[in-house]
Amino acid sequence: MSRILHSTEGRLALITIVVFVLMAALSPERFLSPQNLTSMAFQFPEFAILALAVAVAMLTGGIDLSVVGAANLSAVVAALFMANVVGADGGAGMVALAFVMALCVGLVAGLFNGVLVATLGLPPILATLGSGLIFTGFAIAMTGGSAVMGLPSAAAWIGNGTILWIPVPLVVFALLAAALGWLMSRTSFGLKTRMFGANPLAARYAAMDTGAVLIKLYALCGMLSAVAGFIVMSRANSAKADYGSSYLLLAVLIAVLGGVNPYGGYGRIIGVVLAVLSMQFLSSGLNLLGVTNFAREMIWGALLIAVMLINTLAKRRTS
């Protein structure tokens, strides 16, 4: 038991379970109802994927503040293509093409960040703050600031469909989380990312291709953002430059809550997944208890600070 509590992920798993049990106990028939469970499974993947992107950037000691901007820009491009070129009766093939387009936009956005950080040497906070505004700005300029509607019905599947009764967004998130977890722990790219985050200078002196690692990593963040953007678009059945503007904060919050060290070098994908789950259980449960969105935001913030405090105090005690 004490060993579990010694690791950030262990504490987090415990918190997740406690939150789940607590919510189930407070309103058993509603919290555990199939409707609630499925609606939770539809809700969280979009910001959870953004949280994965932020967490991955944090592993290098950087941050990606442009994830929401990149998500919306990708979604807007895909939506414009579907609404104006494909039309409302487009088939799955066209939607797939739009998805690839969104991924490409995310890739370009991520490469742009990567070049700013790796080649030009901008601090990641500023680089992605600026590029986030630019991505959002392009999305505004392309749409005049209004929502893009008239998407083919096939586009709704990725956000609202199910595979074997499992919501598609959840499947997408689970696959991405598993793939990222594997990428970060089992591949040389993942290990390089962590080593770079732990000590960028030593990485350079060890003849690591640090520039390439950073560029690839931000490109990955951009593509993850594009997937999230596409899911948001599919669920809303439209794309808009300022959708999900509260998601940035939420994504950073989840990454930190998940035990990712904002200074780089440490973090595990499983922690981010647990953080997402505990957040979602908490917010759904509170929702069922009649707590407003605003109170939820407050509780999230308080939770973040509480976890940081516990982690810090635990560290102080051990050292």
Binding site: R186, T187, S188, F189, K192, M195, A202, Y205, A206, D209
Partner: protein
């Protein structure tokens, strides 16, 4: 100052225990006004604990501290400062973003308790201190733009401005060139004449012996030697610090038929080094002797691609090595063990295994997927080969001693099987026992046909390990001497400094 007056500082039987570890054990020490004392000891001998106790950061577990003969029962940092104890840390603890005047005056101004900034008074204070030690610095310059020696002067001035009676200098000469050390010694003499006492704390003290009255040597927290400075020389000091004489392992004589391996032609980098040409043969250990600022580190970095030279050529086995690209240099077979192990060499919180494997992750991966078992096994193999006493390759590298950490960096490069290995300050911050073992590794590498370049300001180290030594001064190679018995340390030191 007469000896009948109470000494400025007296430590009586000072002991400091942390849980099970005894960092200081019954240490006595006396410092009189106007006196310079050397406190010598290896890393981990208890020197820094002694400083902390002296300035009130740590409370001794037993023993007494007296200032001017008055016992200090509850010594706090503030009380120590008020009594005139000032530490000049190795990093100087200055404010890089503030001006020289502000840095010098800040401590003293704070001590007046003033809430407002008195710019004129602060400037006058700074000017006064600079005049007192006879140095001219631009009061408005930002400290981050000053050279190291000037930063040290600012730190000394700051201590003096705060009415220092004892200046404790932590490793004061590491970052200075010989000429700057000489200037520092002049300054110390002047301070002593002024009645200020100085405590040098270092593991490399031979160069300050001449201004000291008194030498105290610590080993494993105990005082092992104590006496007038005249009775010590570099060798006896080392012996006292380590408790043994160090046997050097000179390299096997170079095979006369050995082929040329690395050729550097007219390498020039503006402001760092000029027109450097050298040839390194297979199996040869080539020393580069140079003081800080001589361009030795810039040259090493340029050879490894960490800095881009303006002109010149580097070839390995006749093939050009692309300049300014560490990945290409490593790919061509050049390795570099950096000077500052902690910031440049190691990923401290990461495991030993990862620290070793990071140099050649591709070799442990197929299609980008790591074979973790392979990676651990190889790391364990290296630990055994280099006789690193590590409990577990999975332990963070931070848990190792300096000497073992250095061996981890060496293992990282040796695993890549380089043709040429450049070692910058291979035994900086390493205890004397490990130092000899690292030297043995160097000569073993050479015996297996590698070309090794050792860059150092530790002359006995160069003399003991190198076939040939190049002398570098102000960015230019000025001299070449044979290693081993060919030349004495004094002779080499003169060639370096003249």
């Amino acid at each position: 100052m007469t000896d009948t007056s109470a000494p400025l500082v007296t430590l009586e039987g000072v002991t400091k225990r942390y849980a099970a570890i005894t960092a200081l054990s019954e240490v006595d020490l006396t410092i009189r006004a106007g006196e310079a004392v050397c406190l010598a000891g290896e890393n981990g001998s208890g020197k820094s604990t002694l400083i902390k106790v002296l300035v009130g950061v740590e409370r001794p577990s037993a023993g007494r501290i007296l200032f001017d003969g008055v016992p200090q029962t509850r010594l706090t940092p503030t009380a120590a400062t008020r009594a005139g104890m000032q530490v000049i840390f190795q990093d100087f603890s200055l404010f890089p973003n503030l001006s020289v005047a502000e840095n010098i005056a800040m401590t003293a101004e704070r001590a007046t308790g003033a809430r407002l900034v008195h710019r004129r008074r602060a400037r006058e204070r700074a000017r006064e201190v600079l005049d007192r030690i006879g140095v001219d610095l631009d009061l408005d310059a930002r400290v981050e733009r000053l050279p190291v020696a000037h930063k040290q002067l600012v730190a000394i001035c700051r201590a003096l401005a705060a009415d220092a009676r004892l200046i404790i200098m932590d490793e004061p000469t590491t970052a200075l060139t010989e000429r700057e050390v000489a200037r520092l010694l002049d300054l110390i003499r002047r301070l002593k004449a002024d009645g200020v006492a100085v405590l040098f704390v270092s593991h490399k003290l031979a160069e300050v012996l001449e201004v000291c009255e008194h030498v105290v040597v610590l080993r494993n927290g105990e005082k092992v030697a104590d006496g007038p400075a005249e009775t010590f020389d570099a060798a006896s000091l080392t012996r006292a610090m380590t408790g043994r004489d160090v046997a050097e392992t000179p390299p096997e004589p170079l095979d006369p038929s050995a082929s040329d391996l690395l050729k550097v032609e007219n390498l020039t980098k503006d402001g760092a080094f000029r027109d450097v040409s050298l040839t390194l043969r297979a199996g040869e250990v080539l020393g580069v002797a140079g003081l800080l600022g001589s361009g030795r580190t810039s040259l090493a970095k340029a050879l490894f691609g960490l800095a881009t030279p303006d002109s010149g050529r580097v070839t390995l086995d006749g093939t050009d090595v692309p300049l300014g690209d560490p990945i290409a240099a490593a790919g061509a077979g050049i390795g570099y063990v950096p000077e500052d192990r902690l910031t440049e060499g190691l990923f401290l919180e990461q495991s030993i295994a990862r620290n070793i494997a990071v140099g050649r992750l591709e070799a442990h991966a197929s299609g980008g997927v790591l074979n973790l078992r392979d990676l651990w096994e190889e790391a364990a193999e290296w630990l055994k080969r280099l006789s690193v006493k590590a409990p577990d390759p999975q332990a963070p590298v931070r848990s190792l001693s300096g000497g073992n950490q250095q061996r981890v960096v060496l293992a990282r490069w040796m695993a890549r099987q380089p043709r040429v290995l450049i070692l910058n300050g291979p035994s900086v911050g390493v205890d004397v026992g490990s130092k000899a073992e690292i030297h043995a590794i160097i000569s073993d590498l050479a015996a297996r046909g590698l070309g090794v370049i050792v860059i150092s300001d530790d002359l006995p180290e160069l003399l003991g390990t190198c076939h040939r030594i190049l002398v570098m001064k102000a960015g230019v190679i000025t001299d070449e001497v044979a290693g081993g018995e060919g030349i004495t340390e004094d002779d080499l030191s003169h060639r370096l400094a003249s």
